[in-house]
Amino acid sequence: MRRKILVNVIGVLLAFLLGALVMLFQGYNPLETYFRLFQYSLSPGKITYTLSNSVPLVLTGLSASVAFASGAINLGQPGQLLIGALFATVGGLYLNLPQVLMIPTLLILAMVGGALWSGIAAVLKYWFNMSEFITTLMLNMIADYFTYWAITYPFFEKNANHPQTPLINQSGWIPEWGNFNTNILVMILAFVVIWFIVNRATAGYEWRISGQNSLFSRLGGVNISKNYLAVMLLTGALAGLAGGMVVMAGPHRFIKDIGANYAWDGVMIAMVANTDIVLTLVYGIFFGILQTGAVGMELITAVPKELIQVLQAVIVLIVVSGRVYFESLFASFEARRRMRERVA
């Protein structure tokens, strides 16, 4: 466990070092830049805001982690997020229930939307054996244009000068307690449920075994295609939930490009976390800290906030490649230490 933490910390530090070199090369002060970044996102007044920003990252990260660990190459989180956001928005525009009913209804709608979109890919694989890897990618582009159409024509807000829907009914807004946005609670709930399913429930065990060795699990009596469908629907629902949260906790309407890069960031988080559920939460929040801090960094030091996007990709590449390398290094240290003990 300690080794796992060390590998991740070293990888992240190496990536930061590389980022610092890039900044030095361009004449920025890297120490000040990093200081401003963390100062902005971790200051007492901002920390709940940072956590709230990391909600879509953690949710899409969980979606990708569960999918990859179960051997389903669901890369459709961007599309599932958008469709989920659209479903929540449309529900929020036409339904008007008391808040206690409204919020769960919209969250369920968002999950249904995401699951519907991932379900298309799942069905194509189930019936026609089409690789979900490419179909989900194509569905992403289709979802992108479809939601763009939806907010330009049927759900367009009149008098707006760029494509967006009107505000959803106020009872569907995720409540804020002072500085504390309660979307954080939804994230924690989702995390606990997913952690429990993956680590404690039979279904999660079957999924993980199918991901590691599908032949072994089939011989052990696991119904592979049923599990595959379940994983695709669940991960789609998670991505859709992320979309719903973005609308309901953020601008309260569907704006063009509302999905930002959340879903792809989630895919990166799953890869850097090696599909571990707890690490997914940690990296999701960490990426949230980086992205929130980037705004402050840009305000004070003039380093463009897009640098963080580069840094994130570098972190993924270095941590993942380093994991294999460091782990073999530690193993050889360990072996040498044991040998010395034997000799003594």
């Binding site: 361009q26 190459i73 890369l75 194509l124 026609f128 054996n129 089409m130 690789s131 490419i134 179909t135 990618l137 194509m138 569905l139 992403n140 582009m141 289709i142 244009y145 479809f146 763009y148 159409w149 330009t152 024509y153 890069n261 792809w264 895919v267 990166m268 890869m271 463009p304 897009e306 640098l307 963080i308 996007q309 580069v310 840094l311 994130q312 990709a313 570098v314 993924v316 590449l317 993942v320 490649s321 294999v324 390398y325």
Partner: protein, 297 residues
């Protein structure tokens, strides 16, 4: 008549970037690399093409920069996937997002704009007119007057076909994918062959990128490769890497793209833009359907 000529020319120009990237993908496919980084290579190529053309006011340097930009991505892929033996899938995804981040960052850092950069100082790649052919009615309007990179893509198709099937390198390339241990034991480093295939792939993707930002449109838009690298990956998978098949399937995808533009009179543009992605899904569907039939016989 003009409509048909327009459709065919639209088909050719939409097919060109897909064809070039897919030819690169064909080389890595034969070398046994699960290369999904074409999207990132193309995007990086498109950005550096604009950079080169803008600063040196010359399109040949734009193309050169595009190739260098794509090569940068290929080198990172080689470092992680071949040297450090990291998972090719993770490397590819990481690299595509790295390319997206890097180009947006540099766009802001160098040109001080967000999202889009265009300037009259960017010199586009010229179209080529052939003196005699251009006077032939109908055919002349198609065969002549295309962008230089379109002709390069045509040449590249023949070259890649020749390279894959008629040269010693092609034999080794396919051996690296088919059975790399046997290639290693016969005294040729499979890794070296794989590295060369990635470098050639980057050159082709760089050209594809240059066509995007210096061909039809002059200028760079954030994420302008818009899934074309993924479509080209689908094209490679559909025909198992065969260059001639890739050329045909790219033209088919290009045709649907042109058709989409044509349908804009009656449908909202968002739906017509979906057409190439839907076409990819349909093509994959037919492919798996035929595969299933074959297995049942």
């Amino acid at each position: 008549m003009n409509v048909i000529i327009g459709l065919i020319n639209g088909m050719i120009s939409s097919a060109t970037p897909i064809l070039l990237a897919a030819l690169g993908g064909s080389l890595t496919f034969y070398a046994g690399i699960f290369n999904i980084a074409m999207e990132g290579m193309m995007l990086s190529g498109a950005f550096f093409a604009v950079l080169g053309s803008y600063y040196f006011h010359s399109w040949p340097l734009g193309i050169l920069f595009a190739i260098l930009g794509a090569l940068l991505m290929a080198l990172i892929f080689i470092l992680f996937a071949v040297v450090l033996k990291m998972d090719e899938f993770i490397t590819g995804i990481g690299l595509n997002l790295f390319a997206l981040g890097l180009t947006t960052y540099l766009l802001e850092e160098i040109f001080n704009v967000r999202g889009m950069f265009t300037s009259p100082q960017i010199v586009p790649v010229p179209s080529i007119d052939f003196p005699l052919i251009e006077n032939i009615p109908v055919i002349g309007e198609i065969l002549s007057g295309q962008n230089l990179i379109v002709y390069l893509a045509f040449l590249a198709t023949i070259l890649v076909h020749y390279l894959d099937f008629k040269t010693r390198f092609g034999l080794r390339l396919r051996a690296a994918g088919y059975n790399r241990t046997s290639l290693d034991t016969s005294g040729i480093s499979a890794n070296r062959v794989r590295i060369w295939s990635l470098i050639l792939c980057a050159v082709l993707c760089g050209l594809a990128g240059a066509f995007l930002s210096l061909g039809v449109i002059t200028g760079f838009t954030k994420g302008m490769s818009a899934g074309k690298g993924w479509i080209s990956l689908a094209a490679v998978i559909l025909v198992s890497g065969n260059p001639t098949g890739i050329a045909l399937i790219s033209l088919l995808f290009g045709f649907t793209d042109g058709l989409g533009l044509f349908m804009q009179q009656s449908l909202p543009s968002q739906f017509t833009s979906m057409v190439p992605y839907l076409a990819t899904l349909v093509a994959l569907f037919i492919y798996s359907f035929r595969l299933k039939k074959k297995q049942m016989v």
